[in-house]
Symmetry: none
Subunit: 207 residues, 4 copies
DNA sequence: CATGAATGAGAGTTCATTCAT
DNA sequence: AATGAATGAACTCTCATTCAT
């Protein structure tokens, strides 16, 4: 198994354990065991537990920013663009049960940024902030453009609209994650997540 | 100071500390000190640290359910009703900086429900689940009623619509909380939270 | 038991354990147990294991510098003064079996100064360096004065003479410590330590 | 590279690292890297980390005992003999910066003897004790002889005199080592070490 | 012979929780 | 009722040592 493969194994394992138990209750021993390696080896790949959490968050942000850059190249009008961005969210988070776990980890991970003292993690922290800002900026620019072109509603500022969109998609996906873990019915299915965003764009954002 | 006053002091203090540091990094010593009492005394009022977290969450849920019951008595049509519910959210969370902290604690608190083993907390856990279900049911019934009466869009199931509404309001308020703590500008103000929900109801939910 | 008493208990216990096992093999659990308290409580009094070691070293240096200041006030000629300083060493280290252990800890402690990274211990480190410099300066000034007055041999520089004196007393006392622990005969007794220093001053240092 | 060459490389590397960091903070990985080999290979040549430390100490003791045997053959009177022994110390420790490191390692190494449990190292431990006793005996015999012949002062027992001599030379050399590493001036140079011992013999030991 | 990835025991350390005062 | 000193379980993390390659 190559170094990169093992790093991914750890991240995958941690994503699962963090999602199921929460960062607090997740132990390095369990993450390692779940990844099929020893506790000590984990520390060859990551500085510490927080580093793993941040790496998952950073990985997601980098991935989605990359996907956005790709997709937005070929998109021209704001409606098409905002669709593209949220389809990327769906593609990355709704792919399978494993990616579904990400929503919980992302939710839990970002607040931890505030508590980072470790010198070695400061760079990672800054990177996350940078990528997060990039993601936000991408969305806000599209919304601003749509408002300027007169295709988007102008009642609200782009930042509020973006929060509504992100909050909606996050909560809808979180419900699916919860349903997957608790085996409880939540009254909707994977397909409805996409439909919700579509409707949100069509009715809430468009003029 | 009466027993109830002291209990509230602890809950207030914990809300602040949990919001600022996160449940993991918050220590009982700090919560107690911040509440103006000794560490030991905290345990006369709450079983343990998790109990405090759950009490905050339960308190909020009970409060909002109570407010909903009150307000919904005098409301007749679904539009008015859904407005009422979300105005309650605003009233409870946007009152001042202190209540703003609740959004972070609620966000962090609910996932902890899964990890409760402590026999003494099981009842509290069930209570939270009960109140949460009640809140969800209240919203879903209004939406169902609106759809039946033909005033609400029927494309999506009530549960998805509710998730969109809740996710939106939560994220918009979370932004305000973040801005309050980090002193960073997020591009919108308190007033915009209400406006966002209003617009969401008018454009997204109504037919 | 008062706070200061307990702090002393820990330092005493650690001095014993460090002397017997060495810093590396000494565990916090053993130090605490030997002091009659729990592991955790140790951390209310000291930052960490290294802090304890440094505190012992610093305590000794402060003590001997204090004693020197006292004794040197009433001394006038360099011979008398250098006697005073080394009698202080004897008084502090040869008092009983407990103080004998100090010689081993001092020996082991000073080299650790180089490896201190911990921000919280930097101040203690600087204090140790300061007190150590003070002790050295005290001795060197006496020797310089003796040489100037023509009562001390001038072949060697004060710093070398001081190293010879310190090395001698340290090794002689170390021998006693070793004998105490191993129960082996080393060919001399406590009284000989003083005699050795006396002779060293009379024959080696005096003109 | 031959087996013996590699063994020496490891010992040299370890001497440096032990001197700089201390046994506790020195890692096998660094010792190996510094020796230009892999971590694992180190274990083909030495049982474990402690074995390396003991090997350095034993090597020094064997070397100095050998040199003493050589030099003492051609020496006849006690003064000449004691000179010879301490010139051997100088020759072995003051040769260059590398050998200077030995003084720190010897200082740190001997106390570790007490903590050896490992069956495989017991023999090495006994060897060190044997060689150490031999060295001590060599010095003590010379001093005894000098006292009997009436050329050495009889106030102190041979063992105390030997401790004074060893402590002095050790401390003087330690100062040079410290100065070499910290780049701080200590007020004397290599040449003064020899002068100090000479003077010590002439004034302190001789009648 | 040589590697260095992998192991896992065991240490330091934290802090929720208890309880003598 | 109130304190905060004291406990000790359980965590993270390190690194000497092993072993498949």
């Amino acid at each position: 198994m190559s170094t990169d493969t093992k790093k991914l194994k750890i991240l995958d394992s941690a994503t699962q354990v963090f999602a199921e138990k929460g960062f607090l209750y997740a132990t390095m021993a369990e993450i390692a065991k779940n990844a099929g390696i020893s506790t000590g080896l984990t520390y060859s790949y990551f500085k510490n537990k927080l580093d793993i959490l941040l790496s998952i968050v950073l990985g997601f942000l980098q991935h989605i920013n990359l996907k956005n850059t790709e997709k937005l190249e070929s998109a021209s009008d704001p409606v098409e663009k905002i669709y593209a961005v949220f389809h990327n969210f769906e593609d990355l988070l709704l792919k399978d049960e494993k990616t579904l776990c990400l929503i919980k980890v992302l939710n839990e991970g970002l607040p931890h940024l505030v508590m980072i003292n470790d010198q070695d993690l400061l760079e990672k922290r800054l990177n996350i902030i940078k990528e997060n800002r990039k993601l936000i900026k991408t969305m806000d620019l599209i919304i601003t453009e749509g408002q300027k072109k007169g295709v988007f509603d102008k009642t609200l500022s782009p930042s509020v609209i973006r929060q509504v969109l992100c909050g909606s998609i996050e909560r809808v996906i979180y419900g699916l994650f919860f349903s997957y873990f608790s085996k409880e019915d939540i009254g909707y299915k994977k397909e409805d997540a996409g439909k919700a965003i579509e409707l949100l764009i069509n009715k809430f954002i468009k003029k």
